[in-house]
């Protein structure tokens, strides 16, 4: 969601980092660019002004001018201020006191409250082991309550039955009574969307707030919101006490300026971000990581955690063993592809890697996406068990059969086979080193299978040393520093090392 902003800031800072020394006017002109970039990213104007002042005050200070790499120093300052504005630390929900704890969701029409209610219910049920009940107070939008009921069924949590003609306040009371009787831990109240100018609806919100005494009152806001984000956040927090923000649709290509503004305006942390249309598409928000993404520093911590979450420990140990023996066959490759997919596909991983924004664009431009990976999977699935273990068996007629079976061309099959062999060789070499590099190389292998030759100029389907160097360059040349010794958990590394 931050790609565009990242690009812009990246260009600004490239200019700065090349300089040996910085004058005040250097800083000023760079900050002018930053201002523009932030405004185009829909960051609220007051927040932008505040940001620029803070960065300037610190950047012009002696500290920077005396430092050996002033450009780097300025980037660090920008990063620090970004984190300050985004808030620090992950914000847990406070729902552990006397049950039922009430979570109230409010927001504009179409911001995603109902979907978020379903996601939150699933999150609390599966990750926090809570007994959750959903109740819809939206008596206005057609089928809003039915929508919540269906989501509740999907998440397998209880949903307050609907009674026609009841007022939102009465539904809230009934929900609280029902939650008490059923020994519910957390009651999620989904309210109707309202514009902040609608006095009647805003007083309804106030009434529900004061009678339900929520432990958490979360403002659900669209990541694509423009300058109005500030108005909305302010208007809601003037009337009811907002305790946090959930930012939806952050899987879009919006630049995420709203994220920057929300915290600054409400003083409340962003607690979750919605990252897909699916019920499990809700993730905690980490300000440090978001700042990292904005500055194109990647989000390695998220990647590592995601890897740890999806790749089972034994699987990984097994894989490492096989890698170091150099016995990396089609079955292993298939497993790797599966893991890649589980981690949100190539796009998901790429967006978390540092400095990879450009590469990602290239891939998109060349029409290379997760479909190519699925194709590889299909090719392997079309092989017999023997063939998967011993690719040596693959003669021309077998390859032809596989290509028919998987709906691909023989040359695609050939490419995959070559890739697997190259990978096996590489794995043997790298097996002992472990860690992210092997991960990268396998990624690289997948990347180069792109059918578009303009991305993959050479025929070699494996990422060779040159390509690795290229990626390193894209990453600012210090990939090894950043990853040194840090293995991916589940891929041989011991444990994730937090970046700070």
């Amino acid at each position: 969601m931050f790609e565009n902003l990242t690009d812009k800031l990246g260009n600004v800072f490239k200019g700065l980092t090349k300089r040996g020394s910085l004058s005040e006017s250097d800083v000023d002109s760079a900050l002018q660019e930053v201002r523009l970039a932030l405004l185009e990213a829909d960051v609220a104007l007051p927040v932008v002004k505040d940001f620029i002042t803070k960065v300037r005050d610190r950047a012009v200070g002696e500290e920077v001018l005396r430092s050996i790499t002033p450009g780097q120093q300025v980037i660090k300052i920008v990063n620090d201020v970004l984190i300050e504005i985004l808030g620090s630390g992950e914000s847990e929900l406070t729902i552990d006191h006397s049950p039922p704890a009430v979570i109230l969701l409010v927001g504009l029409q179409g911001s995603g409250k109902t979907t978020t209610a379903g996601k939150l219910a699933l999150h609390l049920k599966s990750k926090k082991r809570k007994k959750v009940m959903l109740a819809s107070l939206d008596i206005y939008r057609p089928a809003a309550r039915e929508q919540l009921r269906i989501l509740g069924e999907q998440a397998e949590v209880s949903v307050l039955p609907e009674i026609d003609g009841e007022s939102p306040a009465n539904i809230a009371k009934r929900a609280m009574a029902a939650a008490k009787i059923q020994a519910i831990d957390v009651l999620i109240l989904d309210t109707a969307g309202r514009t902040t100018l609608d006095a009647i609806m805003m007083s309804e919100a106030k009434e529900i707030f004061s009678l339900s005494k929520p432990s958490e009152t979360l403002l659900v806001a669209d990541a694509m919101t423009g300058q109005d984000a500030v108005q909305t956040a302010k208007a809601f927090s003037d009337i009811i006490k907002i305790s946090g923000v959930i930012l939806t649709r952050s899987d879009g290509d919006a630049r995420g300026g709203a994220a920057l503004s929300m915290k600054a305006v409400t003083g409340c942390p962003i607690k979750f971000v919605g990252v897909s249309e699916k019920l499990d598409g809700l993730e905690p928000f980490y300000p440090e990581r978001a700042a990292g993404r904005i500055l194109d520093m990647g989000d390695v911590v998220s990647l590592v955690e995601k890897a740890a979450e999806t790749i089972a420990e034994e699987d990984a140990a097994h894989m490492m063993k096989r890698m170091s023996q150099g016995s990396f066959d089609m079955n292993d490759m298939l497993k790797q592809i599966g893991q890649l997919k589980k981690m949100g596909g190539l796009g998901g991983i790429m967006s978390m890697l540092p400095g990879i924004g450009k590469l990602q664009k290239q891939m998109a431009a060349n029409n290379f996406n997760d479909k190519a990976i699925s194709k590889q999977e299909a090719i392997i699935y079309s092989m017999t068990k023997q063939e998967r273990i011993n690719v040596g068996l693959l003669n021309a007629s077998r390859r032809k059969r596989i290509s028919f079976g998987s709906g691909s061309s023989v040359s695609e099959v050939n490419r995959l086979v070559k890739q697997q062999q190259d990978m096996a060789r590489m794995m043997k070499k790298m097996g002992k080193m472990g860690g992210l590099k092997s991960m990268m190389s396998s990624l690289g292998g997948s990347i180069s299978s792109s059918e578009n030759p303009s991305f993959n100029k050479e025929e070699t389907p494996i990422m060779d040393a040159g390509k690795m160097a290229e990626i390193q360059k894209l990453m600012g040349g210090n990939m090894s520093n950043r990853f040194g010794g840090m293995g991916l958990p589940g891929l041989g590394g011991k444990s994730s090392k937090k970046r700070r």
Binding site: D42, P142, D222, M224, D228, T232
Partner: protein
């Protein structure tokens, strides 16, 4: 009706308008305008979501105007506001376009697309009501087979407007639903088909492909269908609207847009830069949740409301 529209819009835009007002009032009574004050106006146009580029151009115009007038007399607040309104109007006027203008074919097929939560289903209901008032028969196609209860939501609107509805199974093929609806309209001599598609983020390639597929499938029944492909845009959206419009336009070739939720504090100022860049007709604005809260887009009214002026 027109007055009603302006009132609602003015009320909706009041927050942003008053901001523009404030910025302007700092100028009035002076004979020269310095850079700081111009910056101030520009900032406030940015706050109204007009975007940096358009904001700075309009500011420049105001600066020029200022110098012209400077010879004769002091600048008044009204001068500035009028300049602002006319600059915005110049951009918007070519895009003003009534959705209900000309229908050549029967059935006339309208497809609504947009990101999640932009208000497609509500807009579909409101359009159906417009046609009902015009004594046209309507069939609604519930092509959102993904979101929970989307069909039930559209069904309610069908009941309210007396429109027929075609729906499929949850998770089913949305293109098939659209096809069935057009087929039904053909067989039963229905005038209008409104296809309500599922919300999709423009950067999800697969989902955008699903949309092109829907258009393709419908065109099998009538090569010109869907006759209108309208994007429904949330009025609270910021500069991301550009990305939305571009990608939706690239995928299905938009014939127009409808801006929703302008009854809130959102400014919808992004419409100005969208109009300038994409030259896509703007049909209507949504100003409430009621059946009749879809109003024809009027460039003059919109511009004047945005500049904090009363209607002419």
């Amino acid at each position: 009706m027109a007055l009603n529209w302006f009132k609602k819009l003015k009320n909706g835009l009041s927050k942003s308008a008053s901001k523009v007002d404030n910025a302007i009032s700092s100028i009035t009574g002076k004979k020269t305008v310095d850079k700081e004050e111009l910056d101030n106006i520009e900032d406030h146009l940015i706050l109204a979501d007009l975007g940096v580029e358009v904001a700075s151009r309009i500011t420049k115009r105001i600066k020029e105007q200022k110098f012209e007038l400077n010879e004769k007399k002091e600048i008044t607040k009204l001068d500035i506001s009028e300049t602002l309104a006319s600059e915005i109007e110049k951009i918007l006027l070519p895009c003003e376009s009534n959705i209900f203008d000309k229908f050549k074919s029967k059935p006339h097929v309208i497809l609504l697309a947009g990101v999640n939560g932009s208000g497609k289903t509500t807009t579909a209901g409101k359009i159906a009501e417009k046609f009902r008032l015009d004594n046209k028969t309507v069939v609604l196609a519930a092509a959102d087979t993904f979101r929970a209860a989307a069909v039930a939501q559209l069904k309610t609107w069908a009941d309210r407007t007396g429109a027929k509805i075609v729906s499929g199974l949850d998770g089913g093929d949305s293109a098939a639903v659209a096809y069935k609806a057009v087929e039904k309209a053909k067989n039963e001599n229905i005038d209008i088909v409104i296809i309500d598609t599922a919300g999709r983020l423009q950067n999800k390639k697969d989902l955008m492909e699903e949309l092109t597929k829907t258009c393709r499938v419908v065109s099998k029944l009538d090569p010109d269908a869907p006759h209108q492909k309208i994007v429904v845009l949330d009025g609270t959206v910021g500069q991301n609207a550009h990305s939305q419009l571009k990608i939706f336009n690239d995928s299905i070739g938009l014939t127009g847009m409808i801006i929703t939720k302008l009854d809130g504090s959102a400014k919808g100022g992004v419409v100005v830069s969208l109009a300038e860049k994409f030259k896509i007709p703007i049909h209507a604005v949504g100003v409430g949740e009621g059946l009749d809260d879809l109003q024809d887009f009027k460039a003059v009214s919109f511009s004047r409301a945005l500049a904090g002026l009363d209607e002419l």
